[in-house]
Amino acid sequence: MNNLLIEKTQSTPTIQFDFLSNVLKISGESFPENTAKFYSPVLEWLREYIEQLDSATEVTMEFNIIYFNSSTSKIFMTIFDMLEGAVENGKKICVNWRCDEKNETAIECGEEFKEDLDVLPFNLIIEGDQ
């Protein structure tokens, strides 16, 4: 499987899905013109990736999002539901939801995703100024 790399724009995040290291990163802003269209290859890659995943491999999905709009929120929920399904099937996946300590909105959004998930390990990581 190939890696998935998408460079950021002013309204779309950087996507770095590394097949070999099993670290999948989404970072930046997300308010695309057409959210479904932007995330369609991302969801497609994830589906294929989960399919080929064995239950020994440890996967980390890193989110570091400054702002995302409401249609992105729905896509993220779809991603978490996919991961949750995979965890139920014995895959080892965890999500790190990283946010700046000053970004209260991103922290709250992370908490709200976490509340809606049962088995997917979802770590809220609050970071100070570097």
Binding site: Q10, F31, N69, S70, S71, S73, I75, N103, T105, D116
Partner: protein, 186 residues
């Protein structure tokens, strides 16, 4: 036409308008405006939560114009991907350190009832009820005719400090002007 640019500039300054735009909106206009809007709010020391709320309401409203305004630039029936839709956006200071985000666009008069019921369905809900509704809709299929997730209005209501204010003004038999005004207090 008697239009004095300096008078206009002074009025905008006096009324403490941060941003205004009237005309065709492209996604790139939203990107550009979002950059200056954030800088402006930081400069005004609006605070992170207030800045994020104003920013978020602006994006949702501007994207609503882009998706749903019934007024388009020219006749672009064959180029739906790149069509520009027309609307008006004003962001200004409201009371003690608060802000208003005021947007408007043409809609088809026949769509008023549906839009009104969507707004009424969220405008008097508590923050807890809005959160529950947001989470419920986030996992549901979007309604027919929706171009996004159908969460925009709930998101706007969640970030608003007061019940949403909105209005429909008749233009002619087919069209009306829809406006929505949202206030974020500090």
């Amino acid at each position: 036409m008697n239009f004095d640019l300096y008078d206009f500039y002074e009025e905008v300054k006096t009324k403490r308008i941060l941003y205004f735009y009237c005309g065709p909106i492209a996604h790139s206009s939203i990107e550009a405006a979002s950059y200056t809007l954030r800088k402006h709010l930081q400069f005004e020391e609006a605070g992170n939560s207030t800045t994020q709320a104003v920013f978020s309401i602006f994006i949702e409203q501007a994207q609503n114009i882009l998706n749903y305004s019934a007024e388009k630039l020219g006749n672009q029936e064959d180029d739906q991907e790149n069509e520009l839709r027309i609307g008006v956006v004003v962001i200004g200071n409201e009371g003690d350190g608060g802000y208003f985000i005021y947007c408007g666009n043409r809609i088809h008069t026949k769509d008023i009832t549906q839009l009104e019921s969507k707004i009424e369905a969220v405008r008097n809900l508590s923050k807890e009820e809005l959160k529950a509704l947001y989470k419920e809709k986030r996992r549901k299929e979007p309604e027919p005719g929706s171009k996004g997730a159908g969460l925009g209005l709930i998101e706007i209501a969640r970030k608003s400090s007061r019940p949403l204010e909105y209005n429909f003004s008749p233009i002619n038999e087919s069209f009306s002007f829809f406006s929505i005004r949202v206030v974020v207090e500090r």
